[in-house]
């Protein structure tokens, strides 16, 4: 069954076009990752699908229910964990989850049982009866996730579930999301982190400036690059010269990381050989040189012309780690 289907959604805020005709469709039982930089339109799309925002035009259904014509019906099908953990810090974790359960029209007893279950699933049993004010950022996100699950929604929307939390909590959340998915939950997840989409999503939609610019599995997206990548590490003083050499071979600027430079290698080892030869001719001795599979970083660069930006508070080590 189709989980989410949006057709040509347009949403503007004054002069800003947040969504410029977005059509997304996927079936139940998968994780769909919506990947894009800050301001790409990810959150706006989630808000439209979660009935928080009416689009200017276009249509959308969740679990077959039209979000514009029947928002209440749609709300019965969905759970939302937004960007800021929407939990009440003066209530305990359990009280938060029970309240949301009762607002999903569960009876008092059902809400109690169900809250105990999801709190356990989310590893918060020990902290369940503490005020949320004492929770860490990662715990709040988990509680928010628990609250979004308590009503047994068919589809869960997670808007940037790991933005702004520490790397350890991030890994915990990933494990948790993977468990959820193993249990058959359908998930729409937005992220600006390529590694997150790569790890969690069955299918990825790349969104930029309010447009869906590519879609497919992680591998399909990598294949769009047309093959491998040559990556070199050079000493700082050789960097500019090496970049010129690579530009000459690829016909475009190389992707510059802090320590490395890389270009697409459509001809595989032949491109690698060319790079080695030309670097040698320019008297540059690379510290390391390798032919590797492209990452989503490369995909993103190719598609958008710029790198996916990580937020400043994001530790570079987790945000840009290559896998």
């Amino acid at each position: 069954m189709t989980a989410v289907a949006s057709h040509n959604i347009v949403k503007t805020f004054g002069d800003i076009v947040a969504l410029d005709g977005v059509s997304v469709e996927f079936e139940e039982g998968i994780v769909y990752g919506l990947l894009g930089p800050n301001g790409a339109g990810k959150t706006t799309l989630i808000r439209v699908l979660a009935t928080l925002l009416k689009p200017d035009s276009g249509s959308a259904t969740v679990a077959g229910v039209d979000v514009i014509a029947d928002p209440v019906g749609a709300r019965h099908k969905i759970g939302l964990a937004g960007q800021s953990a929407a939990v009440d810090e003066f209530l305990t974790g359990r009280e938060n989850v029970e309240m949301v359960g009762r607002l999903y029209n569960l009876s008092k007893e059902e809400a109690k049982t169900r809250a105990t279950d999801v709190l356990e699933a989310i590893n918060l049993t020990d902290a369940a009866d503490r005020k949320v004010g004492t929770y860490s950022g990662g715990m709040r996100r988990r509680l928010d996730l628990a609250a979004s699950m308590v009503g047994r929604p068919q589809i869960l929307f997670l808007d940037e579930p790991t933005t702004g939390i520490d790397p350890g909590s991030r890994l915990d959340l990933w494990d948790l999301i993977e468990d959820l998915v193993a249990g058959g939950t359908t998930l729409l997840l937005t992220t600006q982190y390529l590694d997150e989409a790569d790890r969690l999503a069955d299918r990825i939609g790349v969104i930029n400036h309010g447009k869906l610019i590519a879609e497919g599995t992680s591998n399909e997206l990598k294949d769009q690059l047309g093959g491998d990548v040559v990556e070199i590490h050079v000493d700082e003083q050789d960097r500019a010269a090496a970049a010129d050499v690579l530009t000459g071979i690829a016909g475009s600027e190389p992707v510059a990381e802090r320590l490395s430079l890389s270009i697409p290698a459509p001809e595989g080892s032949k491109t690698l050989t060319a790079v080695v030869r030309e670097l040698d001719a320019a008297a540059i001795e690379p510290r390391d040189i390798a032919l590797r599979k492209p990452t989503l970083d490369d995909v993103f660069l190719t598609l958008t012309g710029h790198k996916a930006e990580a937020k400043p508070e994001e530790p570079a080590e987790t945000g840009r780690r290559r896998r």
Partner: protein, 278 residues
């Protein structure tokens, strides 16, 4: 517009009432978990009562109204009840802006619950809190020598009218708070209409002690009407009629003000809610 209307119908009245109950409970629980907030929101009205009775009370000439009533405290308590309820209504503005800032409202809006329950639950919780504070005022007043002189039934009716008026003002404050968006702005904006209305009224002093040009407004604005009504239900008959109005006329005028304020400001607040949460 039509979607929202249909949506509210679709949730169903019974569910909407239940959701309002859950939200009221949640807001009360939030308050109970913040003892410092409870403390300061009760200390402030008690302080008003003490200040006005002991500091200004001696200087206030009650004139004709005072001759029949023994003490300023008996004259002051009905006014203070109205003032406390109106000041207490600012909590509605604060509570809503807090929820807006915390992103909790987005969660509520994504749930299959009645949207009206967010606003209604807030105003009912504030009514509950106001009731608590007003009862405390009566206890403190009693210790200071206040006595009701027209029987318990009329006293209770007077308190109920003051509280309902405070409830009506919660909708004014909901509107202001949702427009102001942040707790800081809501705090200042909320008191903007309240200060002149409360002080240019018969809450603390008889209107005929004010300059003539002010008396017309002061005597007829809702806070005076309510204070006089509650007063007429608590102090002895000879002090009445106040401004030539008898008790039942005052009661009807009070009820009319309460209904009119709700009728105007509840829709404004709902409209502002939709605008703000967009």
């Amino acid at each position: 517009m039509t979607t929202t209307a249909r949506l509210q119908r679709r949730v169903g009245f019974k569910d909407a009432v239940r959701h309002t109950g859950i939200m009221t409970q949640r807001n009360n629980l939030r308050l109970a978990r913040r003892p410092e907030l409870v403390l300061f929101s009760t200390v402030q009205p008690v302080m008003f009562l003490l200040l006005f009775n002991y500091v200004f009370g001696g200087a206030i000439n009650l004139g004709a109204a005072g001759t029949a009533s023994s003490d300023y405290i008996n004259w002051l308590i009905p006014g203070i009840l109205v003032q406390t309820a109106v000041f207490g209504a600012t909590a509605t503005a604060l509570g809503l802006t807090e929820d807006l800032g915390a992103g909790v409202i987005d969660r509520f809006r994504s749930l299959p619950m009645a949207r009206s329950a967010v606003l209604a639950g807030r105003t009912f919780a504030d009514l509950a809190r106001n009731s608590f504070v007003n009862i405390l005022m009566l206890v403190v007043g009693f210790l200071m020598g206040w006595r009701f002189e027209q029987g318990a039934l009329k006293m209770v009716l007077g308190v109920a009218l003051a509280l309902l008026f405070g409830y009506a003002f919660s909708w004014v404050m909901a509107w202001i708070g949702l427009a102001a968006k942040t707790p800081e702005a809501a705090q200042s904006a909320g008191f903007l209409p309240i200060f002149p209305l409360v002080f240019m009224s018969s809450v603390f002093v008889p209107v005929d002690s004010m300059p003539t040009w002010l008396q017309g407004f002061a005597a007829n604005q809702p806070i005076s009407v309510l204070s006089d009504t509650v007063r007429s239900l608590m102090i002895p008959e000879p002090a009445l009629p106040i401004f030539g109005l008898d008790q039942s006329t005052l009661i009807w005028q009070s009820i009319a003000w309460i209904l009119a304020i709700v009728a105007v400001f509840a829709p404004l607040a709902v409209r502002q809610y939709k605008r703000t949460v967009g």
